[in-house]
Assembly symmetry: C2
Homo-oligomer: 298 residues x 2
């Protein structure tokens, strides 16, 4: 590969940057970052790559272009870059939801230009270039999206690229992707935010200092609910149809749980509690978590 | 202290056993365990203590008696032991909810006998004597309950006992305890079970192999939802009034989130997402978790 342009150098962008540099996968790596705070962090960290002031200035010199900004930034940047895009450019992004973001891309991207979207299932509750790491994608799935504007050759190239990042790859339609991740990722995050919000409401009303006793469960949710708010707003809005359906299913099930509890329906609640246990062993078999008990992190 | 009787030798009972033995806090430690499977594990692990077939046989020889069984077992055991109880016996339990379990204790425990309840905020999704460890209670809170049948001297003794287990102690009424833990522990567990249940329902309906992609959030919930079903059924039933109220608050907030998403209410959703972040830093300040990002456990 020749030159790579990374647009947005936060947690994921800077992790790609570190990995590409370490594995010597590019001749030049161009980095565009909007935030002044992040730019000074990048300089202080002495990250590799060439910082550029305008991404459109280096498009013609780049072979692979990776969008790592929040999804709500795509349109503005695409419109600036359109004039310099060429059908040979391999363009991808790392956004967490696809249907709506690809619609916006399709509407704004110049005709004849391809966009082959990616979604690496990697991240954390922290953000910013200081938290990136070259092995962030190691053994994680990366979903490649076969959408309206994707290109078969580019997708194959990207599969090989993500494998070099350490990932396992798979291919999906935008529709299937957004349905699956509404359940495995978007709903869990929403639930975590909502649980913390409910604890805050309760604390305010009862005037109990309850966070002192959060080790019994709330603690783990508070970690997830500390994730980047711009990124998550974009995801919830982008995938709102599936997320709303997921919320409805969740509320329906929660009401059934509540009925079991109110009526002390022993048989029904034990069926639920034992049935859910089976998921855990499957998740461990699929290597999505390790089989080590968690007693809290010290 | 002279002799201690531990009733129920699972995760918590065996952790107490290990700690008491290691710190040489008792002359003799008697251990009663109902499950044959656990008894053979205890023998295989060569855990310290004297296994007894009937707890009532060693009551008169014991000074401190600790109930570590699921709460639904208390009544049956109390009725067997009542004849041998004496007002000097220091009796406690480690149950996770208090109002209803203390009502049952109050109703069935012989007159003149004290029961000073404890709740160590320690545990894991695993159970059984093979998972216990002597430092399980280290730096964790233990809540002492001042209820109808508690005794001031016994509570003071127990505070000192739990400190020797490594815990920090505090005192609460059953009412305050059950309200706080309905939010910080019982609701989070219920939510985790319910999320996994919803993922299972979705998987069944859509026929997607979604657990492969559970690293984006679902994974962490599945760990919590693998906890012991008997223990959690007992907690949900025991604290059903507070848990139901917590569910109502949770559903109310979730519907508000859903509205924000459907109407793409930017201001309202960002207020929620940034406000919940504040809880995280408070939890870290209170040393209920460490300030280290989580990228998944490998």
């Amino acid at each position: 590969m020749k030159n790579i342009l990374i647009i947005g150098c936060g947690l994921l962008g800077s992790s790609l940057l570190r990995r590409i540099h370490k594995k010597r996968l590019a001749h030049k790596i161009f980095v565009y970052e909007k935030s002044k705070k992040n730019i000074s962090k990048i300089k202080k960290l002495k990250l590799p790559g060439i910082l550029v002031k305008k991404p459109e200035d280096v498009v013609s010199k780049s072979n692979l272009i990776i969008f790592c900004t929040p999804m709500s930034e795509y349109k503005k940047i695409i419109l600036k870059m359109n004039n310099n895009f060429h059908s040979k450019h391999i363009i991808t992004d790392i956004g967490s939801s696809k249907i709506k973001s690809l619609k916006i891309i399709n509407k704004n991207l110049k005709k004849g230009i391809y966009w082959s979207s990616s979604h690496p299932i990697a991240g954390s509750e922290v953000s910013g270039p200081e938290n990136g790491k070259q092995n962030l994608f190691e053994n994680k799935w990366c979903v490649l999206i076969n959408g309206k504007r994707s290109n078969k050759t580019h997708l194959n190239f990207l599969k090989s690229f993500w494998r070099k990042m350490g990932s396992k790859t798979t291919e999906m339609s935008p529709n299937k992707h957004d349905k699956i991740f509404s359940i495995t990722s978007h709903l869990p995050h929403l639930i975590a935010y909502n649980l913390v919000k409910s604890a805050q409401d309760f604390e305010k009303k009862q005037k109990y200092d309850l966070l002192k006793y959060s080790a019994g469960g709330l603690r783990d949710f508070s970690r997830i609910a500390a994730s980047n708010e711009i990124m998550w707003r974009d995801i919830f809005f982008d995938n709102k149809t599936n997320v709303s359906k997921a919320i409805n299913l969740f509320i329906k099930n929660l009401k059934s749980f509540k009925n079991d509890i109110s009526s002390e329906n022993n048989k029904s609640i034990l069926r639920k509690l034992t049935h859910t246990k089976k998921v855990r062993s499957r998740i461990i078999k699929l290597k999505q978590d390790i089989n080590k008990p968690d007693f809290g992190r010290d």
